[in-house]
Subunit: 426 residues, 3 copies
């Protein structure tokens, strides 16, 4: 592992053609961060949209964000805009947010409720099932049935909504959903209540936001988080330095206690990691928390009095789910936090974070908004600053890819999956 | 007319080469809105500048904006900047707004008055006829006559100033001017006074601004306008729905009354529509107004006490002129409003609007500024919002071109002209 | 010299390929300003970074800005960011400002002081000599010595710091340094004190900022400067118009007086001009000042009580140094002002200006900050406005290159050097 093995240099750090991108993919050095153009080239960004975001299942919202018929959220994925709306049969539908007449955007707000979807331009009117109901001044030959809103694939996995923009969605999703669903069942997210919906602009390529989330090597920079979260994610026993030993001992002990609670609750007891070996890459692990072991808060205390779904024990740790390419999730006894990264340009992204609580939990009574959101609002903002520094650093022609440490395996898992999908090798 | 005939898809929605643009032109589906790259591609925008804005006659100002020798306006057309200045012989001249020495911009203001045109950098000094009068520290071989300002073709059509940036301007202009001039003669715009000069930035490609103006299918969105303006532009008798019947009856009656006034005034009585059949495409129609039938105002009341030029009757309706590629005009008995759309980037434009009144009309006495401008300031702003929504909607890869309704014939007339000129087929 | 010899036209004013740029270089007309794409094309800008800024010696700072071990400045050159830091042996080192791990920017501030250089992301820690001292969680095979910060060539020429980003720096530097050093020796800049460090954003391509500095044809626009500075830079006797005659007589007389002082001080008495005949192009001239002849101030009065280094006489004129591609300098008896132009995008730049005084000079006692900086802050800002107008003017497709006057020889000297280096002909 020496610098000599690194092929990236200033003179090869731009990518402006499909061949350049193919060459970048081909010469990728495993175990190292990606070459600069993956983060800085507009052409790579465009290929990311085409091959990653338009062809994979993308987590975009919690179903709890649209509980009633007519409720909708809109999601921007690059230049795409998609409406997710609950129809009159209470099913979630997804449509391109664009009128079939002359292309006006239909719904401008991030979320809301509608009877029908009415274009602001010429009042073409669509039902929440996407059917064109009304368009004035049409010739007799006009066939309304040909002008329904264009639909987008959508799946509800235990309360988590995924879309796929491709005509043919990867059929891998069902198999993965079947594996994950038993872990999520106790939390009953489909019935949860949205406590907060945040949107944080990031000054970095979407992959830097993801890579940042995939390791805890930087967790010393998250003082609020690590009062409850063990900063040992992806650490093996052999990675434990003397500095980390007391923490590790506590972690092992808390893990043993959690194992018993998990058994009592009747949830699956094994963790899964298929980050780069299948199209719908994921990882699920049930982790203990420090201190009281109940929630993300100073000392691990609970932040909501009502437990989610059928969870019986407050000290239920953190069910952690990673999904490729753009999401991660923390499910706790008293709340859940779901995160989706949405690309907005080569060097910018948006992070959406939603905090979910029990449907009957009352703000001010059962939970305090600041206490509920404090840890992850602080953590998101700290990560935002690190991502900004990495985007600007990678843009420096003096940057060359460096080696991942022993505790950055999941960054490698993300990057592997990404490079394989981009190159069409999964 | 089914969605199956639409060829635009996400995968073909980018245009980055001359061949791509040629293919877009070739596969254009008549009767449908244009494919996305026409509104979103930087390369198409560049071709628009080269083939549309640099080769056609472009309306840019009213001659009344520069009444005296030395008066000037500057106009930005894409990256071009042009000075229109009245010379000492009272003729309008047009020049590239750039010094012949090292390229400094000469005049920075939108309008003003000068004796000579002096470069702010090294004080090269040009007469208002463009001749270089003074340049210090030149060698004996320096020939001032070689460094006049580069001129731009300019024509004054009854008080409306058109420029052409090409070396050879289309010779079609004179024939069209001859047709239009008799309609404009009564308004004597060359002698008019500028009441207001507005500039409105639009977040849309210039063609979306034009298309928006070319139909009244969306006029329900203009509550101020339609108190006087019949929202029936381009409607034929067979397009009249039951909802529109009472309006239409009023329109026919007002039209009959206007016909008599037009005959008394001695103006041409026929309308003309040559929107896509010649290089200098245009349409002229004299329309009745609702209510009092006099002006753009609530109830159609007059907004200026003095009538323009030789107009004898206040209830003189609305002489409506459309010119390709970038302008429209309303001439009323008591004022005129002239509009020019100027491209500033792929996704942005500027709309310039000038309100003209009788040269002796006094603000506060003969007219009130707010009352004069209220209808079109409101309408322009409403249109701006619709254009914004269409630009962002067309940028969505989920957009596919849709069919024009029966009352969008003039949008088709604009688009036909545009596509033909872009493809070199007119 | 007629306009007919000018080849630039609207249709050829874009450059998007390497061949386009080669053609632009090949058809350059000597004695004329450059064609528009040199100032407006992103591709030319990129070649400027590659061939000019990454391959030449670039002035970036005064050594007095980092007097103590651990003191650093950071410099942005296009997307590059470079750290200049004084090491524990008091030598100046230069490194790419990017972590060898995952590419985070290391130092965010423009200047400061550090013990070690610690990456904000994962705490990789480097000494001020660039060596990697610490990186947690590495495998046994990890060899720290392979991950030192990547160094950048740096030279200290009598207190002026130059970097070269290329692997092989031009070896011409030493020969030039040897010529220049005797002129600078009396000012002892290595020991000077920084009074002010300004950074001025410019809305123009870096070359326009340089060209503006290379002539005094526009100096009437600098009323503060020309109370002391003779606006005759690059004027020969035959360039003197009647208007300039009284000024010129004063200039000759002051020059004679200065010649005696220079002889007494024992500095080299000849001027040198090798602007376009070698890789490290430069020009050095010792010029008299108007009025008291001591400093840049109204009437040429001194602005600091303590003279620099071993300078013995306050009326010591202005030692003026130009260096290709991005810097100029004024050395006076009582202070020095050093200027570096740093490109930030095709149409924007940053000008850094540092005022240096005697190390023992005390603000408020020996000098007043406003009085010290007044002339060049005003001049820089006036030049900024001229550069803005030229950038916007050159972007106008109506721009064609024009002829340099007789007093713009050094603009030609700059442009010659630039075109030769860009074309690989020096």
């Amino acid at each position: 592992m020496s610098a000599d093995t690194i092929t990236g240099t200033e003179t090869t750090s731009r990518a402006t053609s499909a061949e350049d991108i193919d060459a970048l993919i081909a010469r990728r050095v495993p175990g190292h961060s990606l070459e600069a153009p993956f983060y800085t080239s507009d052409e790579v960004y465009q290929r990311d949209l085409d091959e990653i975001f338009a062809k994979n299942w993308i987590f975009v919202a919690a179903s709890a964000q649209i509980p009633e018929p007519g409720d909708y959220v809109t999601v921007e994925v690059g230049a795409y805009s998609v409406i997710l709306v609950r129809d009159d049969d209470e099913q979630v539908q997804a449509f391109h947010n664009v009128c079939r007449h002359r292309g006006s955007r239909l719904l401008e707000e991030r979320q809301g409720a509608v009877g029908n979807i009415v274009c602001p331009y010429h009042k073409w009117t669509y039902g929440v099932d996407g059917k064109l109901l009304f368009a004035e001044s049409q010739p007799p030959t006009f066939d309304k049935s040909c002008f329904s809103l264009r639909s987008v694939h959508v799946r509800n996995l235990a309360g988590l909504l995924f879309i796929c923009l491709a005509a043919d969605a990867p059929d891998d999703f069902d198999a993965v959903a079947e594996k994950i669903e038993p872990y999520l069942r106790p939390y009953d997210l489909d019935k949860a209540k949205v406590a907060v919906f945040d949107e944080l602009p990031e000054a970095g390529n979407w992959k830097l936001v993801m890579e940042n989330n995939r390791e805890c090597y930087h967790c010393d920079g998250h003082p609020e988080l690590i009062t409850a979260y063990f900063p040992l994610f992806a650490y093996e026993a052999e990675d434990i330095t003397p500095r980390l030993k007391p923490l590790y001992d506590r972690y092992v002990k808390a893990g043993d206690a959690l194992a018993k609670v998990r058994a009592q609750q009747g949830v699956p007891l094994t963790d899964h990691r298929e980050l780069d070996s299948r199209v719908v890459g994921y990882q699920i692990s049930h982790l203990p928390l420090d201190g009281e072991g109940k929630s993300f808060s100073p000392g691990g205390a609970a932040v909501c009095k009502k437990l989610l779904g059928s969870v019986k024990e407050a000290a239920f740790g953190d069910l952690s789910l990673h999904m490729q390419p753009n999401s991660w999730f923390h499910f706790l006894s008293d709340h859940a936090v779901v995160f989706s990264v949405l690309p907005t340009s080569t060097g910018t992204s948006v992070l959406r974070t939603v905090w979910l609580v029990h449907p009957d939990a009352v703000e001010g009574e059962d939970y305090d908004l600041d206490a509920l959101t404090m840890v992850w609002r602080a953590t998101n903002d700290q990560d935002r600053a690190l991502v900004t520094g990495t985007q600007i650093g990678c843009s420096n022609p003096g940057y060359v890819p460096g080696p991942y440490s022993m505790v950055e395996d999941d960054v490698e898992g993300f990057v592997n999956w990404y490079v394989k999908r981009l190159g069409g090798q999964l």
